[in-house]
């Protein structure tokens, strides 16, 4: 027994007010058992796992891009005779119930009229689903039962059966492909356990049934080392006579597995800093036997959000201590590098970046985005490979977040949605005047949608405070640290709760499933978000929601019988890693735990995406960490059964 202590009592009271999401102990035990089983059999896979761990390559699936005017639409491309390669039938999707669920649990909650299946995100079926086009004919995809990280093949689907169409082994790491004219172009680079692997570009002539590939130039990609690794990514966009390929290589990092012997058993945390020609390595005090001596304050990284001062120690080591070569050091110290090439199937021609200061670049849907220290700029790509600056020269970090589709751009900042196209003016629309119409397929999730403003229909992004109707009364949304105020007479403002003041111009709103986030003040390009604002209170009470037979679950724990009141929808979208799905008419809902469906725990998720409705099915993408932190991507497909 102890005396009353206001400080302690108040802290305990406030802590007790926190309501952690619940998790079944069965799930914990089952996952532990499963991991131990995996670990016992993981030895032979260690190499593959290591490869996967260092891969930071942006995975981009086969993009179905509008053919340029001089090319035939894909649907009219003459279809050749089926390939002579033996048919390779892709196994049917795995039913959820067939997945190894960790441990025996209570019976699964009642299915609310949806049968869920899990696909490997790199499978042809998952890729075809991406564009909601059942006539999708080609896929650059992993072979069934492959590890899914490196080697892929080209598949063709003429009659519902996916057939491998290139007998040769394709270069390792091909990830990204697009149509151009009557050919499929693919580029990629293999992840490497050390150094950086060279990239490749290839072309498949659909009519001639021939495949050819060449390595990409070494100046950006290739790199050899025993102790450091580098990541890279590629993107691709069709031109009238080939494709444009953007390649980025990022600064390398030390592979501690190969140098840890030099550290006398100390396990470093994070990557080293270069200070006066030597490496300063952060060492967790937890694991440092001499933790109490020589603690050195380390500047807090605002992105980490956690002070590590006093909790960690540092060691200063020379490159020689770690066995690093001059090339290793150069790679560790480097800034990102980017290059762009034209590729016509046989030759590569270097193209100058339109922004000479750009350190990285990405191409998507006919739009090039370049990033430099001052922010990002966007450029339309002309058919002949030229660049036309978009958005009247806006620098993205100062204004908004834009996305491209079909040679157009759309994005938003403040209360404005901005659109631009290669042959049209930049337009800005005030969201306060926008009437959200019923054509938005999935208004409560952050899908692209159509909005009507001033008689014109435009494509917009990231408008999730939407349901049929208009925002006609002032609405305040209380978030963590910030309030979002939507006032038809005063626009959209963000109030810092600690000061009561409006945040300075330049913060932008970016919505993710379940939240609007405030991101990136000027001068902090790509930097942290200071808070989140839940969106659920913006769901319009006018929305009609039918009660649906079903159960709300979280990791197998039944939380509530299904009775959703749109005015009180909690943040299931992200908080509990659950899936909130709506039917095509947007009026019926089914909630399932993503973790439950995939057969893992919430802690294993690396990323979860939003729900889309494709061909009448619900599609959700995500990824999970496995042993040694390798990331596996999956696609959940829910098929209504009623």
């Amino acid at each position: 027994m102890h005396d009353s202590n206001p400080l302690r009592d108040e802290l305990q009271r406030q802590a007790a007010a926190l309501s952690p999401s619940s998790t079944s102990v069965d799930m914990i035990i089952g996952t532990g058992d499963r991991r131990m089983r995996r670990r016992r059999t993981a030895g032979a896979l260690a190499g593959v796992v290591a490869v996967a761990t260092v891969s930071a390559v942006g995975i981009q699936q086969l993009q179905r891009v509008e053919a340029p005017p001089t090319a035939q639409p894909l649907d009219t491309v003459p279809q050749p005779e089926p390939a002579t390669a033996p048919a390779l039938t892709v196994p049917p999707p795995i039913e959820v119930d067939q997945i190894e669920i960790a441990g025996a649990r209570a019976a699964r909650p009642a299915e609310p009229g949806i049968t869920w299946a899990v696909l490997d995100a790199d499978s042809p079926e998952a890729i075809a689903l991406r564009y909601g086009d059942t006539t999708e004919r080609y896929a650059l995809a992993t072979e069934p039962a492959s590890n899914g990280f490196t080697t892929r093949s080209l598949y063709e689907n003429l009659d519902g059966e996916w057939v491998k169409i290139v007998d040769d082994v394709l270069p390792d790491g091909l990830r990204t492909a697009t149509f151009s004219g009557d050919a499929i172009y693919a580029v990629g680079t293999a992840p490497a356990t050390a150094g950086a692997a060279p990239g490749s570009a290839g072309r498949f002539d659909i009519a001639a049934r021939t495949w050819s590939s060449i390595p990409l130039p070494d100046e950006v990609m290739s790199y050899t080392s025993d102790h450091v690794s580098a990541s890279s990514d590629m993107s691709i966009s069709p031109l009238s006579d080939g494709v444009l390929v953007a390649v980025n290589r990022y600064p390398a990092w030390v592979d501690y597995e190969t140098v840890v012997a030099s550290l006398d058993g100390i396990e470093p945390v994070g990557q080293p800093e270069w200070v006066d020609g030597a490496l300063r390595v952060i060492v967790s005090c937890d694991e440092d036997p001499s933790q109490e001596s020589g603690s050195t304050p380390i500047a807090t990284d605002v992105l980490e959000g956690v002070d590590i001062e006093e909790f960690c120690d540092t060691r200063t080591l020379s490159a020689n201590d770690l066995g690093l070569t001059e090339m290793d050091v150069a790679a560790l110290e480097s800034t990102p590098r980017s290059g762009i090439w034209r590729f016509d199937g046989s030759t590569l021609t270097s193209v100058d970046l339109p922004d000479p200061a750009a350190e990285s670049s990405s191409i998507s849907n006919g739009v090039l985005t370049t990033w430099s220290a001052t922010g990002s700029r966007t450029w339309f790509i002309t058919d002949d490979g030229g660049f036309v600056e978009a958005l009247d020269g806006m620098v993205e970090s100062d204004y908004g977040s834009f996305r491209s589709f079909d040679n157009q751009l759309a994005g938003g900042f403040g209360s404005y949605v901005v659109t631009d196209s290669i042959d049209g003016p930049t337009t800005a629309i005030d969201l306060r005047s926008v009437v959200i119409d019923d054509s938005m397929v999935n208004p409560h999730l952050n899908t692209y949608g159509a909005a009507t403003a001033n008689g014109a229909t435009v494509s917009i992004v990231q408008v999730d405070y939407a349901a049929p109707g208009t925002i006609d009364t002032p609405t305040t949304i209380t978030g963590s640290g910030y309030d979002l105020v939507i006032d038809p007479s005063n626009g959209v403002t963000v109030i810092d709760q600690s000061t009561g003041q409006q945040v300075t111009d330049g913060y932008r709103l970016v919505s993710t499933p379940g939240s609007i986030q405030l991101v990136a003040s000027p001068g902090l390009s790509g930097s942290e978000s200071p808070g989140t604002v839940p969106t659920t209170t913006i769901v319009s009470p006018a929305t009609t929601v039918e009660e649906t037979v079903g159960t709300v679950v979280d990791d197998g724990v039944v939380l509530d019988e299904f009775d959703i009141d749109p005015a009180t929808l909690p943040m299931w979208g992200t908080q509990n890693r659950a899936v909130l799905a709506s039917t095509i008419d947007g009026e019926s809902y089914a909630v399932e735990s993503l973790a439950d469906l995939v057969g893992t725990t919430e802690g294993e998720f690396a990323d979860t995406g939003q729900i889309e409705v494709i061909d009448g099915r619900f599609v959700a993408r995500g990824s999970v960490y496995g042993n040694s932190d390798e990331i596996r991507s999956f696609v959940l497909v829910g098929t209504p059964t009623v």
């Binding site: 400080l7 990541s231 980490e304 959000g305 006093e310 990033w371 990002s376 978000s529 802690g603």
Partner: protein
């Protein structure tokens, strides 16, 4: 194994006996008891340490999985909850760093993936909590272990892998800073003893 539910010990015992794995049954039920009794308390402590309730829950569950996998060793510690706390905080920090590193190297990642960034999430707002978050993590950890999990200074030290003197020093500094920030809650805390302990945690040295 997870079918050996503690809620049905007799049936579970029968199953365990049938498969000749009584030791496993005992370990499992011991872990289940620990999990049910301490999990939420650890989540709250981790949440206040890292400032993110959702991440705290995820990380604590990861730590619980690790604890289960080596339960014979973890359960022998004076404070298994301290071990779980430490692993969970490290897991969270690792997660945050991973996101930060990706963000640094690829700006587009920041634009497209916000799900894992370490925002203050699910934690309430008050003078006390703000003051707590102004403490360095090292001090914050000792404070939450001492106040929320009601560890002794010795147990705080063991849980964090530091010397008892260091734990005491950090606790003193942390509480001093808190008292300065929230003067209306100022009475000294350092002399307090834990008010109670979990039934599965034995006597400890409070030196």
């Amino acid at each position: 194994m997870s079918s050996l539910s503690a809620e049905h010990p007799t049936a579970a015992l029968n199953v365990a006996a049938t498969i000749g794995d009584l030791e496993l049954f005992v370990e499992t039920t011991s872990f289940e008891t620990f999990y049910r009794e301490r999990r939420d308390a650890v989540v709250r402590a981790v949440a206040l340490a890292i400032g993110d309730l959702e991440q705290a829950a995820d990380s604590t569950d990861e730590a619980m999985i690790s604890a289960y996998q080596r339960w014979s060793k973890v359960s022998a510690l004076d404070q298994p909850a301290g071990w779980v706390y430490r692993v969970a905080v490290n897991h969270s920090r690792s997660r945050f760093r991973r996101v930060a590193r990706k963000a640094r190297y690829n700006l587009s990642f920041v634009t497209d993936h916000h799900d894992d960034t370490p925002f203050a999430n699910g934690i309430g707002d008050s003078d006390l909590l703000r003051a707590l978050h102004e403490l360095p993590l090292a001090r914050r950890s000792v404070v939450v272990l001492r106040v929320l999990l009601e560890f002794s200074e010795h147990e705080c030290a063991e849980a964090l892998g530091i010397r008892p003197g260091t734990a005491k020093s950090r606790l003193h500094r942390g509480l001093t800073q808190l008292r300065q920030s929230v003067p209306h809650l100022s009475p000294d805390l350092t002399s307090d003893r834990p008010s109670h302990r979990s039934p599965n945690e034995g006597p400890h040295d409070h030196a």
